[in-house]
Symmetry: D2
Subunit: 391 residues, 4 copies
């Protein structure tokens, strides 16, 4: 039973929610088999930012955009930041890329060659310069480093090298900057990845210090992994810094967040709500990290933002008192029923109302299609080289 | 206990063994994150064939090369075939490619658009023309067709479309030509793939008729799948046409055959040996299908050929009488021990001897490194565009 | 947009829906580590039937109960059937059990020992006698047969033995009786199971004839398997005979249907609805097969029945015309949105209304708790030996 | 190339190797479907110890036996210890059991009920008393605690409860006693397990202090998990305390160590050897933890001990200098080849020689069968209640 007073709190929480979209999701992407280009795709960091601003304009809860270096490298980051501000959004996390240079074939910061490690670590430091220039507070590391064959390199030495690079970057951080250390089970490394799971990321972050936190990418786990357990555990340890939301049925499919298992996304958001960790003041960066290989990109990102929002709304509707009482009583079915009651609620009317109260269109997808933006970018961006993953 | 008379039979079986290498494994490949080019990589179908011929020259058991259309498209297939013959090898399976044209974004033979289905089916028929021109007897179909999101397309209608295209190709086959229908759990489709498992391939092959058989790609299964069971089952049903060998720890990693789980490869080859299905006269095409993203390509293929050969040698050493007796007696540990005894045998001396008897170098990898071939191709192939997957 | 006329059809379909509950789910069950007994658990087949009747009384859509032999062995099956009829329910599928006799340690119908195979096959035939006596039309086979170690027994010979036993049972079937052949990836066999996947079951069923069909147990697949694809495929082939519904996060967890992944259950039911296969006249037996190790049993079964019903209601609400149009247009996001719109609908008010129209309590769980039945069975069944899996 | 001087070191390392066998592996075990009893199975802790002593007598490297409380509860642990010493073996790790009492249905140390938590924690403390009495230094905790349904209990509160119980036990440890904290992905809990992965165990151990270390059970991971990475990582962190060896194809199959993936076992032992962590002085307890449901128990344990020994011998044969040189040079195939060269070596002659030098039979399995021990225990243990898992 949701009281009116509760609904007020639910709406307030939803109004405060922030989801960061990734610049690269607006660009072309694909699989190793084929990248299918789409008309209207951005050609520059500015055009990606413009698309991100459009998503924020329509959803009201996506006021920042993550950058990926060197994909989003520009000469003047101050100007880029101002450009974003003028469009109503902030520069979010700075993502490093140490996997696409020829030198990184056998690894970046864990490469057996010290010259290449130096080069990779310098790139990490460069990203902090960009943070200084853009005002970004989050430095996200995803290391594709790993090996394809048993024996190819020494697992333990690679950890030593990784720790050294992380330490150097950590020591360079400003007072209000932090590291988000992502992990991934596999791909592109196919035998051993140097940061394969949350435990590895966590152990490094603990050793680094309070400014290092774990980033959970929802698509980066072994089959069967209970992601909301990791969320709850890291919240308890004070080490959950960020999410990379996306969804998957198999491996790192990078489908739209909430598309493959909306119940899982709800369970994740429930752990956030249960820990009072939704508010931006708590410090978690809720990012999307996905790619739209065959579907229209901007609508796909709007859809993903809405999916996270819907899961959050359902989580906020959980009757906490009833839940905790049933849990304490050992009422297995009763406790489960309280959670499911919230999940089974159709929150779309509530969210439409929330948007209307905020002066937004109740249906952001429909509003996008009516806006003429897609036709405009298709026309304007017909020439030139579309941005992409650059593989 | 292996008697001398048995060893004679083992050697004879090993001498008759044939493994087909894939033209694309000599070319550049990579992941969606990066393709790392290598010096000396072929630029043309002819150069791929030359590399395949080198592998056969050194191993003695790789006398054919599979082609991939359009990657290996040439004007004159008769000339290409003659070129191969002059180098001592045959043109093997013709692989179709209906996943890299812009039109195939939402599918090829299962696309909702009949124009695109027609185009894709025509490509299948074109491949049969190429078979006629090259003398190839095997037409391999791998359809990347599938969908990324629930509801994106109708699962059942796609099967109807698939069946229609398969039928059309089947009816075009010559008397001694056949279809090898590959399956794959996922990638590049991330929600549902139209031929995801052996059961789907098998059911279509049964409906098509005797000239359609299943191709098992060892990397294309769900985690935990017992591949040798599928081998044994399809042998019993008379529907096992071919293997695509490679190995994996996670998904379709496409590592060298035998690199990830040599015991599994042995168990697979044991089912082949147990069914007397190793000899070329039985009709199974034992192909490699893998990519060498970070390791040297030709040595990696030699290594893979040797790995299959070693697994085969071990399988041939299984003491069948002792095994069947222990099985019949319900002696769990005894039966397992007979199998493991063969697996634990170091067959490398036997294979070195076999090669020497055939006038080959006992160590094909070392022989390759001594041959100067790598230096030669690096020098000769410095200019021009390297062949690759073309993604 | 759901029109009133559509709602009438939806309600009619829901009224016709039938879900079969399993006698053993009312009894004690557990894991290999511990069976936790519960008060009030049935001691006899009659008491299980009484519980099943209670579930039907409250839900209105569970009018039959599956039996498991020998767990439900009685002297007089005619009397048992009459007892069920008097309580308003039918005897459903007869489940054979060839895994708990000491003789079956190394297999039942696939055992290397012909005496044990004979014994197991005779049990299959006995089950058909029970079908004759009870009027049951469905004979369900789940064979735990398999091996734990490579080499333990011969994979292919076991298929021959399996085929022989199936043939003998098939030939004994009456005109309106059929075989439902279940498959399972693993457990209790840990290396190879003799019927591990739908393909194996399908191939045997095709060879047996039209009275043999596949039973899909939703918990019996490898990680990542797309179950709704199998549903769609088997419907197309005319070989889907039944479901064993339950849910799982990991392996064969046997949790309540719909508890682990309600979206998956919806997608499965959508394939049923899309093929017009929901009505009992189509011939699919929608059964539950699960165990309730820690939760109250009867409420857990009611919850599972409701979960299937809710997923069905959502599937019936899919706007087919809009979906097929979007699919045909290649509108990836639009087609997905149509499906998700139905899934996101809260169908509980509709189902409450449906129940009230049928003279049922709108909330079957609450009605059960109010009914006094639980207190009654706890009191009445205090003595004697509770029924269980008998491991 | 292995020099004679190296072989001396290899043999010395192998002579020092110690593997601990588990008392419960000698007893009856099974799956939830059936426990198949075997003749000759022990009825008492003493008889289990006698079997363990037999295994040590034949293999020479299994001089300790782990106990499981309450399965191995006796009145006089001093007498039990003396009994073991008289048979030539030590009491190894003490395993707690907080999963089989009725009270533990919803958890033991994480149960929402403080009374039950108290009871469970008291059992942990009791186990330390037993350690004091037996001289055991290792206290192994496996908590089956977890939940089956989302919402059933609060994930985070359960961590708080777990931490409190661990702390209490930790503070009770003597100076040379330590905790081994095992983890397991799932089973018997089917939604969330309270210690599901190495990261959770590691984080708790770090917080507890230096006397808490992680125990790796090789069968307790999600599919695809790279176990040797965890080994290498925990060795680097100084937190690897023990192994529970067994093998699996699917879930926690508990097959004989090395039976399912001998290459994996070799890679694990290579990380041990590479870190000089094999010697007992390093402090890792190499235990078996498996069950023998269908195979003869004592021979199965001997086989498992030998499998670990063979994997170790291969790991010791790795040419470290050549490996590190190839790794440093980025020679992917060369480095892999060095590792594979050791793996492909047949070490059975070396181990037979080692045994003969130690006065043992070169073939422990054959020696067991010749020994008459099996016939003796079958005759002597015909009456009474066989020991089992007690589920």
């Amino acid at each position: 039973m949701i009281l009116l007073s509760d609904l007020t709190a639910v709406k307030a929480a939803l109004r405060a929610q922030r989801i960061e979209t990734p610049s690269w999701a607006y660009a072309n992407s694909g699989t190793r088999f084929k990248v299918f280009p789409q008309p209207g795709v951005p050609r520059t960091p500015e055009e990606k930012i413009a698309d991100a601003a459009k998503v924020h304009e329509l959803t009201g809860i996506a006021p920042s955009v993550a950058l990926h270096i060197p994909w989003d490298r520009v000469d003047d980051y101050g100007a880029l930041t101002k450009y974003a501000h003028d469009l109503g959004i902030e520069i979010g996390a700075i993502n490093t890329n140490v996997f696409q240079d020829e030198d990184y074939k056998l690894g970046s910061v864990t490469n057996p060659d010290p010259r290449i490690r130096r080069k990779a670590t310098d790139h990490l430091l460069e990203a902090i310069d960009i943070m200084d220039a853009t005002g970004s507070k989050d430095l996200k590391f995803w290391f594709s480093d790993g090996i394809n064959y048993p024996g190819q390199d020494d697992l333990r030495s690679r950890q030593d090298r990784l720790a050294a690079a992380l330490r150097e970057a950590y020591d360079r951080l400003g007072d209000d900057q932090r590291i988000l250390l992502e992990y991934k089970l596999f791909e592109p490394a196919f035998y051993a990845t140097d940061v394969p799971d949350w435990g590895t990321s966590y152990a490094h972050c603990v050793e680094l210090g309070p400014k290092a936190t774990v980033c959970i990418d929802t698509g980066h786990h072994a089959p069967g992994t209970n992601i909301e357990f990791i969320v709850a555990f890291l919240l308890r340890q004070g080490k959950l810094g960020a999410f990379d939301f996306n969804s998957r049925f198999y491996a790192d499919d990078d489908l739209m967040a909430g598309a493959a298992d909306p119940f899982q996304l709800f369970r994740i958001m429930w752990e956030i709500v249960r820990a009072d960790a939704l508010d931006p003041s708590y410090g978690i960066n809720f990012m999307l990290d996905q790619c739209h290989n065959i579907e229209a990109k901007i609508p796909a990102i709007i859809r993903s933002v809405l999916n996270v929002q819907e899961a959050t709304a359902k989580a906020l509707l959980v009757d906490k008192e009833a839940l905790f009482a049933a849990q304490q009583n050992g009422d297995v079915l009763g406790a489960n029923a309280v959670l499911m009651d919230a999940y089974n609620t159709d929150v779309r009317p509530l969210l439409a109302e929330l948007r209307e109260e905020a002066g937004l269109d109740p249906d952001p997808i429909a509003a996008y299609h009516r806006s003429g933006y897609q036709e405009k970018i298709v026309a304007e961006r017909a020439d030139g080289r579309q941005a992409g993953w650059g593989a």
